[in-house]
């Protein structure tokens, strides 16, 4: 690989919900073209970290830099415009809109014209294997398709970085394999990815590098190999929560 270029970093990122410190002095960085895994037990603060990166939550203290620019506390729509897209762990479809319209809302981030947005949405949905669902209402879609639609919508905004929050949770092994393939394909297309995932096989296979979060603190960082042999990680996370795809 050529020289690695940093695209996103956090410095001493901390957020408190009342007495609970959900993220405590989190320092991570992300290189362009990388797939970064983010693991940790339930309630470790992974989604909260995503929410701060995507502008949905303002950190109590600390900084977030995107391409060297301070984006701390910027609103979600600005961050999306700058090129960071995200999916939600708990899917957030526009229930009254069709799948196509859901994705069109994302496409309109870069296109003014409705028909062009519709065409682009159809292309993305076709690519993600949702072609036959375009006219289904968001409310009537199954979970695996909803998870894909989340990804489709995020891609539609034409981001550089895409934050995937447990897109494989609730999928069966075949769907999981497909999702892994999808993530690898996204990287091939030039997206930089951070993925939160509980399914160890998936994270270990796909990620270039992994951060382990425990009770709001980063306890380990490294390649899948390094992380999986780290004693602290094994004690706090891998020992109990090992899951198979």
């Amino acid at each position: 690989m050529s020289e690695q270029k940093e695209i996103l970093r956090t410095e001493h990122l901390t957020i408190k919900f009342g007495g609970l410190v959900a993220n405590n002095d989190v320092n991570i960085h992300l290189n362009e073209g990388e797939i970064l895994g983010l693991i940790g037990t339930n309630g470790a603060g992974k989604t909260t970290l995503f929410n701060m990166l995507a502008g949905a939550l303002k950190p109590t203290s600390g900084k977030i830099y995107y391409r060297g620019q301070d984006i701390t506390g910027k609103p979600a729509d600005k961050i999306c415009k700058m090129g960071i897209g995200r999916t939600y762990q708990v899917v957030q479809p526009f229930t009254s809109l069709t799948v196509e319209e859901n994705v069109m809302v994302g496409c309109l981030n870069r296109h003014r014209n409705i028909e062009r947005a519709r065409k682009r949405a159809d292309e993305i949905l076709e690519e993600l294997g949702l072609g036959k669902h375009i006219h289904t209402k968001g409310a009537n879609l199954g979970l695996p398709q909803l998870k894909r639609m989340e990804i489709a919508r995020a891609l539609a905004t034409e981001p550089d970085i895409i934050l995937l929050d447990e897109v494989m949770a609730g999928l069966n092994p075949t769907e999981c394999e497909e999702a892994m393939e999808l993530v690898l394909n996204l990287r091939k297309k030039g997206y930089t990815i951070i993925m939160i995932e509980h399914i160890m096989k998936a994270v270990m296979n796909v990620s270039d590098r992994i951060y382990v979060l425990n009770q709001g603190v980063v306890i380990a960082e490294g390649t899948p190999q390094e992380v999986s042999t780290n004693q602290e990680v094994i004690d706090s996370y891998l020992g109990g929560a090992k899951k198979k795809c």
Binding site: G55, D77, L97, E101, V105, L108, N109, I114
Partner: protein
């Protein structure tokens, strides 16, 4: 390319026929003054209900004081005409801008908070304006007439002064306004703004993570709605030739506009049209039948209508069509299944 089959849908035919009748109605010798007056009001309320629908339906912020912008439009246009000699054709646009700015300020403050703050403040705003206009004798040194209001004195037939002996010119103004407003609503609904508002009303968080600036689009909806309300208010003032705080900043009018939209179908293109087309004549009929003897009765009837609609047709009268189509589809499916089963048994 224009597809002839697509143009000749029952809906398009119906709309064309209705518009033709409306366009020709004043020409029929049998049409009386009352019919003109009633149709004028109906078209005006279709216009207002459609304008209301942009913020109340598309953007999902109920307003219970939307006649406030009617009053602002009426007063600004009339005072510009009386004291500045400015033609209402120009004055109404100034009035529209004034209403949009005031709406924008209220929106900017209340949209920051989640919940029904805009709705609450809309009532407060209406009452503030009505009371202030009734209590104050002048604004910036110009007489407002206080509670008595202002009269546009007759200066002779004039197009630029929007003064006509007959109500027929107003009839055509309202007709054009109504058509343009419905077209504008159609345009908004099918534009980026329409999609964004639909996204905002169903899931605000998801919308903003997809790059939607919530505040910007809500303000665009509110300001354009207020602008249109005020435009209608300005013409309405010249139609009536006199205005006063109670009838312009009117709570009843506000509630009726909201009700028409809900009854017809909130957030749909044809809902406000249908709602106003049914409820304005109903209201006039009730006023003629029961009049002052039972002035509270109309409110009771409104209440009953609203309850019935909310209970049986929460998406308004326009959803009847969907229900009918769904039924037909289900029947057809059942038939197909029956045919299949029959063929299997053979």
């Amino acid at each position: 390319m224009i597809d002839k089959k697509k143009l000749l849908t029952p809906k398009n035919i119906l709309v064309t026929v209705v518009l033709l009748i409306l366009a020709l109605l004043p020409i029929f010798p049998t049409t009386g003054a009352y019919a003109i007056q009633l149709t004028c009001l109906t078209m005006l309320f279709i216009y207002w209900a459609s304008a209301y629908n942009i913020i109340g339906g598309f953007a999902g912020h109920t307003s219970l004081g939307h006649a406030c912008y009617v009053g602002i439009g009426a007063y600004v246009a009339v005072m510009l005409y009386l004291y500045g000699g400015i033609s209402p054709w120009i004055g109404m646009f100034i009035a529209g801008i004034v209403a949009a700015v005031i709406a924008g300020i209220i929106g900017y403050v209340t949209f920051h908070m989640r919940g029904s703050y805009y709705t609450l403040s809309s009532v407060a705003l209406l009452n503030c304006f009505r009371i202030a206009m009734a209590a104050s004798k002048e604004i910036f040194g110009f007489k407002t007439g206080g509670a008595v209001g202002l009269k546009i004195s007759w200066m002779g037939e004039s197009v630029s002064g929007m003064q006509f002996v007959s109500k027929v010119p107003f009839y055509y103004i309202f007709l054009v306004f109504m058509i343009l407003c419905v077209l504008l609503c159609w345009y908004i609904k099918n534009s980026k703004m329409g999609y964004y508002l639909a996204a905002i009303t169903t899931n605000q968080d998801a919308a903003s993570s997809l790059g939607v600036n919530i505040m910007q689009y809500k303000l665009m909806a509110l300001c354009s709605s207020a602008f249109l309300m005020a435009l209608g208010g300005a013409v309405y003032a010249f139609f009536l030739t006199s205005i006063d705080p109670l009838s312009m900043f009117n709570y009843d009018t506000s509630a009726r506009i909201m009700l028409m939209t809900v009854v017809g179908g909130l957030g749909t293109l044809w809902g406000p049209v249908l709602g106003a087309a049914l409820l304005v004549p109903l209201n006039e009929w009730m006023r003629a039948s029961f009049g002052a003897r039972l002035s509270g009765l109309s409110f009771v009837i409104y209440g009953i209508i609203l309850m019935l609609v909310v209970m049986f047709l929460p998406k308004g009268l326009v959803s009847l069509k969907d229900k009918y189509e769904k039924r037909r589809y289900e029947k057809q499916q059942a038939k197909e299944v029956a045919v299949k089963e029959a063929s299997v048994h053979e």
